[in-house]
């Protein structure tokens, strides 16, 4: 078998990560530090993933106690763990065939957990009804997104390629998923000067740019944004919904950061809720898939792979095929399903575990709010660096105004300027962040993305190193 010519073109077309060399170097540096090689720093600060636990945030105690009891039910009968933990574990295990987390569940998830999610959605959305049969739990939200895109894609070789409007900048995994499934990403630029706002005129422009290239069938929105941290206003969401309806686009609403909102004037409201409040005919006709996950928010349980999609106003005939697609995947990992249950039905006031739960989540939240403020302050105080307010999400995406000499040097080395900056930052300051070229950005602009869901002291150290590095860098290339 020969190599690249005999391979799926969809796979070939997936872009290789731009910062792959950084990943390798970061690995090497970690090893060198372990070997006590002398460096200007003792530890690497790895903030490139949206992964709170990796960045030192502790898992929530209640969550982990419940999972441990479910894994080893002897704990349910002993009094090592609080009584509400044991009760919850008992309840979750009752929903498992044979009372074991090792059994398959129904393809969409165990019925009790799916019901719990639909109740959560209804509560969150001010009473707008949510139906369990429209909810599918998957190994992380991206998996569900891939399944939905798979259904949307027109795979006939003679047909025009299917297009999906995607934000610029956008989380790279989503673009890779689409390309891998044979779809084309049609970028619409978010407006950096206005806090990364989504503007409907830009959606229109993007749609027009697709003429002759592909047939757009869906509109993908990330709210709160990744990497941008923008939180959409209700008004903006209404405009988007009207646009989707008018242009006959399927709405894909990625809302995994819904629990991370900090801006004083920001509030997360779900697309489902806005749609429901707009009333018929829109509320009965606009087709929507909204995604959520246990990977983000205070739980940060990325490794458990628990996410879900809620489908609204879908053609029932198409729903049958969606069921089959999910059933061929067997089911989502049971611990991931449990994590979703704990996300959607957390401890309540009066429960023995509530005080600790509240303390832990408040601590994480206040850390985040503080981190956001600090990043904004510090980055905006540095010459050649600016940052839009981070209203939500778990990332900062500041912009660097790089001197021409630096851009020139990067080009000489065959690197994108922001990748060059990140490589230097990693090497000299031991800080691992991702360059903006990975997400797409307006020509001639450069950014970095880093996770802000980290312990306070790590954030301070990061900002200290960044300040010192950036100042030196700007001096070197002035």
């Amino acid at each position: 078998m020969s190599a690249l010519q005999e391979m799926s073109p969809n796979v070939r077309n997936i872009k290789q990560l731009q910062y792959v060399a950084l990943i390798r170097r970061a690995s090497q540096i970690k090893e060198e530090l372990r070997q006590k090689v002398r460096k200007p720093y003792k530890e690497m600060i790895d903030v490139c993933w949206g992964d709170p636990h990796r960045a030192g945030v502790k898992p929530l105690t209640f969550v982990r106690q419940v999972l441990a009891a479910c894994l080893y039910p002897q704990l349910v009968d002993s009094d090592t763990l609080p009584v509400d933990v044991r009760q919850r574990a008992r309840m979750l295990l009752r929903g498992c065939a044979g009372g074991s987390v090792g059994s398959y569940t129904a393809p969409a998830g165990t019925s009790e957990i799916v019901h719990g999610i639909s109740e959560f959605i209804t509560r969150r959305d001010g009473g707008a009804p949510s139906y369990p049969e429209n909810i599918y739990i998957s190994p992380g939200s991206q998996w569900a997104l891939q399944n939905i895109i798979n259904v949307l894609v027109n795979s006939e070789p003679s047909s025009p390629k299917t297009g999906v409007l995607t934000p610029l900048p956008c989380y790279s995994t989503t673009i890779s998923s689409m390309v891998g499934l044979g779809a084309v990403a049609v970028p619409y630029s978010l407006c950096e000067e206005r806090g990364w706002e989504l503007q409907v005129e830009e959606l229109q422009r993007a749609l027009e740019s697709a003429k002759g290239v592909c047939k757009p069938v869906a509109l993908y929105i990330v709210n709160p944004g990744n990497p941008t941290g923008y939180v959409q206003s209700r008004k903006s969401m209404q405009e988007v919904i009207r646009f989707a309806s008018e242009k006959r686009l399927f709405l894909l609403a990625d809302e995994v950061y819904q629990d991370c909102v900090y801006g004083d004037n920001s509030e997360f409201v779900s697309y489902k809720r806005v749609l429901a409040e707009m009333g018929p005919p829109l509320s009965d006709t606009v087709e929507l898939a909204s995604f959520h996950s246990a990977s983000k928010g205070f739980m940060g349980e990325c490794g458990l792979r628990g996410g879900y999609v809620e489908l609204v106003n879908m053609d029932p005939a198409v729903m049958k095929y969606i069921y089959t697609l999910f059933s061929a995947d067997s089911c989502a990992p049971v611990l991931g399903q449990f994590a979703l249950d704990l996300l959607t039905s957390p401890p309540q006031p009066g429960d023995p575990s509530y005080p600790l739960y509240r303390q832990e989540t408040r601590h994480i939240r206040s850390t985040l709010v503080r981190n956001v403020k600090r990043v904004f302050e510090v980055v905006n105080s540095l010459p050649g660096f600016s940052c839009q307010p981070v209203e939500g999400g778990v990332f900062a995406f500041p912009r660097m105004h790089l001197p021409p000499a630096a851009i020139h040097k990067a080009t000489e080395m065959g690197m994108q300027p922001d990748l060059f900056y990140c490589a230097r930052l990693l090497e000299e300051a031991g800080v691992f962040v991702i360059p903006g070229c990975e997400y797409g950005q307006k020509e001639g602009t450069y950014h970095i993305r880093f996770c802000i869901m980290v312990q306070e002291d790590i954030m301070e150290e990061l900002l200290r190193r960044l300040t010192s590095f950036h100042t030196q860098f700007m001096k070197d290339f002035s």
Partner: protein, 524 residues
């Protein structure tokens, strides 16, 4: 898309659709917040996403293991709960290879370590043995932030891949295994689909053809339909205990070359649904065939610990490949798959598994590594579980005795049930059952009276689905009709798991036997 199969996937899809409209309306799944027009069953032409413009490949996807009969079984479950009177008090789900669901107990050691990983405070609890704590600490050390909640690298945690490689070396008598060739996955199914995604390409006559056994585990046909690959069926020989015949492989690939580009051969050993354990000679023959025909070999070995029959032994494809010498071991390109869902663990809900790729072109491998990153990472608890499976307690460790006792008991029970199943079914006129040499299923052949076949066709049902539906309604036993796996034209089968506890299994075998006799009489 498939040759020599009684029904093309598209025809199966139509059948399924018809069956769905005949069966009682499944309450939950049909109710959506939709307009009145749609509620009346009128076509939803107004929908942005509808049957006409959805991915035509997805319309061809079926997965019988969770198909129409299972949906009816779930509905009956509901009816029983609501107090509806039936000739039985429970629905016995012998359709899916889920050991724990049927009462098999998890292995204590595995669950202890996983509980410690989930809640490390328990490391101070003296109820847990030292070897479990040592394993947990090691796993947590390898996790980001010492938490199983952190993402791992997409290929899987490095030290676990190293452990898997060592396990494979030990299993294969020292033949070396490179951790870099190991990809952890969300169950073996995920790895299988990933490989197929990588390999399927081409247009028209150059479209990739993938050889798969008939009968097969329908994940393969589902994935091939989804990818619009050409399914090339090769028939296993029922009269020779479902063995594989090279002449049949040759026949299938030669015929296929007329209309597609055969590039892959898939083999399941031990087999699902058939349970056959291939002989070493047969495995060598397949490897030779793959080399001659220039095919990528996919060896699904998830049941490798489930071997029961006297004289049968599991031979890993990799081991045989290397023992055939450098002419083969340096050239045949292969992937072998394993999982935590089967064997003695039965931990399906963890979605743990891996594949090992052998002799893969480095550029293709780079593409594979890129492709798996789109899945982010496999579930970390599943990775941890896999680590324990490849690193079980050793004779000098405190948990060893209990672990071995539990493991042996599970495998012995399965062996006993395998024998029992074959024995009882073969006493029934009209049921012929090959020995269940391995895996977890039996796939007996059933003789159906012509009147029954005619009745089924008149109702728009495939005859063995008609049979299984009737069994479900009358006895509350859920099996999967052979048509869901593929079978020779004019033959009928069902797949039943051998997982229920022995007493319940005896009960099920008796009920099915009685039903078969009744059915034969009713339609004589």
């Amino acid at each position: 898309y498939s040759d020599h199969c009684p029904l093309t996937p598209l025809k199966w899809a139509r059948q399924l659709f018809l069956i769905n409209s005949f069966s009682v309306r499944r309450s939950a799944r049909d109710i959506t917040n939709m307009s009145q027009q749609a509620a009346n069953g009128l076509p939803c032409r107004g929908k942005v996403l509808n049957l006409d413009n959805m991915n035509p490949n997805v319309r061809r996807v079926e997965y019988a293991v969770r198909g129409a009969i299972v949906q009816r079984a779930l509905q009956i479950d509901k009816e029983l709960k609501e107090g509806v009177k039936k000739p039985f008090t429970e629905v016995i789900k012998a359709n899916i290879g889920d050991a724990h669901a049927m009462g098999q107990k998890p292995i204590t050691f595995l669950r202890q370590v996983l509980a410690l990983c989930a809640y490390p405070d328990l490391l101070d609890d003296n109820k847990f043995p030292d070897d479990s704590k040592q394993r947990a600490r090691r796993i947590l050390e390898a996790c980001g932030g010492h938490s199983i909640g952190a993402y791992s690298s997409s290929q899987g945690i490095e030290c676990i891949r190293q452990d898997v490689a060592r396990y494979i070396e030990k299993r294969d008598d020292g033949i070396s295994s490179d951790p870099d060739n190991i990809y952890l996955a969300t169950g073996a199914s995920d790895a299988i689909v990933t490989m197929l995604k990588l390999l399927v390409c081409g247009k028209g006559r150059d479209r990739t053809g993938v050889m798969i056994s008939i009968p097969q585990y329908p994940l393969y046909s589902a994935a091939l339909a989804d990818l619009a690959a050409v399914q090339i069926n090769y028939y296993l020989d029922e009269d020779k205990c479902w063995s594989l015949d090279i002449a049949e492989l040759k026949r299938a690939v030669t015929a296929a070359r007329q209309h597609c580009n055969p590039r892959v051969i898939c083999i399941i050993n031990p087999g699902n649904p058939t349970g056959q354990v291939q002989s070493r000679q047969c495995i060598e023959d397949v490897i030779r065939f793959a080399k001659e025909e220039h095919l990528f070999l996919m060896a699904d070995e998830v049941y490798q610990d489930n071997v029961y029959a006297e004289g049968c032994k599991f031979h890993s494809f990799k081991r045989v490949l290397f023992e055939m010498g450098p002419e083969y071991s340096t050239t045949v390109e292969m992937a072998s798959f394993h999982s935590t869902s089967k064997c003695y663990m039965g931990e399906c809900g963890f979605r743990g598994g891996y594949m090992e790729v052998i002799n893969m072109d480095p550029e293709v491998k780079a593409q594979l590594t890129k492709l798996v990153s789109v899945r982010l990472c496999p579930p970390v608890p599943g990775q941890a579980l896999l680590d324990l499976v490849v690193n079980p307690p050793q004779p000098d460790e405190p948990s060893y005795d209990k672990f071995m006792k539990e493991r042996t008991a599970v495998l012995a029970a399965l062996a006993e049930k395998a024998g029992l199943t074959e024995q009882i079914f073969n006493t029934v006129p009209g049921i012929t059952c090959n020995p269940v040499q391995g895996a977890m299923y039996t796939f007996p052949r059933i003789t159906l009276p012509q009147k029954a076949i005619d009745k089924a066709k008149a109702e728009g049902q495939v005859p063995d689905m008609f049979y299984c539906m009737k069994l479900l309604e009358e006895e509350g036993i859920c099996l999967v009709p052979g048509s869901g796996f593929g079978q020779r034209e004019g033959t009928f089968h069902f797949r039943m798991t051998i997982l229920p506890p022995t007493e319940k299994l005896k009960f099920v075998l008796q009920k099915i036997s009685d039903f078969h006799i009744r059915f034969t009489q009713e339609f004589s």
